[in-house]
Subunit: 224 residues, 2 copies
Amino acid sequence: MTTLDTAGGRPARHSLDDVLAAAMAILDENGLADLTMRRLAASLGVQPSALYWHVPNKQTLLALIADRIVSVPGAAGVPGTSTRPGTATRSPDATGIDWQHAARAEALALRDALLAYRDGAEVVSSTLALGLGADDARGRLAAALTGADLAPSAREMAAATLLHFILGHVWHEQQRLQADSLGVVAPGQAADPLEASASHHGPGSFEFGVDLLLDGLAARALRR
Amino acid sequence: MTTLDTAGGRPARHSLDDVLAAAMAILDENGLADLTMRRLAASLGVQPSALYWHVPNKQTLLALIADRIVSVPGAAGVPGTSTRPGTATRSPDATGIDWQHAARAEALALRDALLAYRDGAEVVSSTLALGLGADDARGRLAAALTGADLAPSAREMAAATLLHFILGHVWHEQQRLQADSLGVVAPGQAADPLEASASHHGPGSFEFGVDLLLDGLAARALRR
DNA sequence: ACCTGAACACCGTTCAAGT
DNA sequence: ACCTGAACACCGTTCAAGT
């Protein structure tokens, strides 16, 4: 079905874009555990070895996917431009825009982007040290913090803190989604909504964390 | 060398404790990628299938390891008692103890515990939904926050926020350690100490994040 | 109580060769 | 420019059987 074999001939010919699209489809439908090079090749109607013409190894493939997951236009993004420099600025005259609102919006947009693909947070997390997508996200968060009265290094560290929290939270969230759908429930972690909503994983716990960080920054700004 | 074959006989007999100790040795010396069931079996002088008498599957093995990594006595822990209830209280009369100091100490202790094993943060993160170790850590953080003037649900959410930040930060940190030791450097992420120390990954960026969170909590406490 | 032996159904990656 | 075919060196897990 996704093989897309050329009408008459045998060997299907693909671009890197095709490969990434197919990989992301598998990721979303079956999860990271099922995203193997062999399964990906099969979904493209191609031999596994063919993938290594497009990509040097699986790790790079995952990094490219992470890049795409994170590069969807967020709250500050212009729709259609998927890649923007990390230090992108929003509208030049930022007067009247509350930086806390901007940072909050960016954080929520990043969470949505991660939630848009199954295991999105794990893919992006596992790829952190390779740069690319994660750096893009941190750049956007840092840009959103322009306006807070912070030294450049403090702004960078604050953006990193936000990013780490977001990845940690969403990953946990997606692990629970998967565990629940598999019926696997850990002893302490009750699956019934009663306990879930009353505890650290209820709705709003993400916003709580973001606001906590932003409150900390605001307190710092006041002390200068 | 680690086979520990009984002097005279053929089949080596082991306890779950032996298995976990051998697994943690591999983890620390060779990393998570090399911690396979087959390699673990070989290090114990046993067939791979023998491991499945001690443990139902690899995921459970990793969860048990995560539990041990996290359960080292932290700042508030009594040395020797490795397992304590999640809602453990520290000394009853907490008057005079600054909760911010307690939470900070607990966060630093957790980071040290994660750093004590190669890929520690990834192992614990991947095991979050299974409860065990991660829950223990969150419980200790929540306990340390007793004294901050917070509603119980807020305290739980704050502990979760701290935990997610810590895992995200240390995982990133350990990824960089491994990337550096392999000589793999990402385009943007310069390996030279000049850029590293000037940015979000310099020394102190962990403390910065923790303090940011604690400042946010302090600001909240003031508003009540 | 703890392990062997053999098998099943997979992996990622390389490399010469094809078109 | 993009793919095949065949191979290499691995995986996690199951299960009957042994002691």
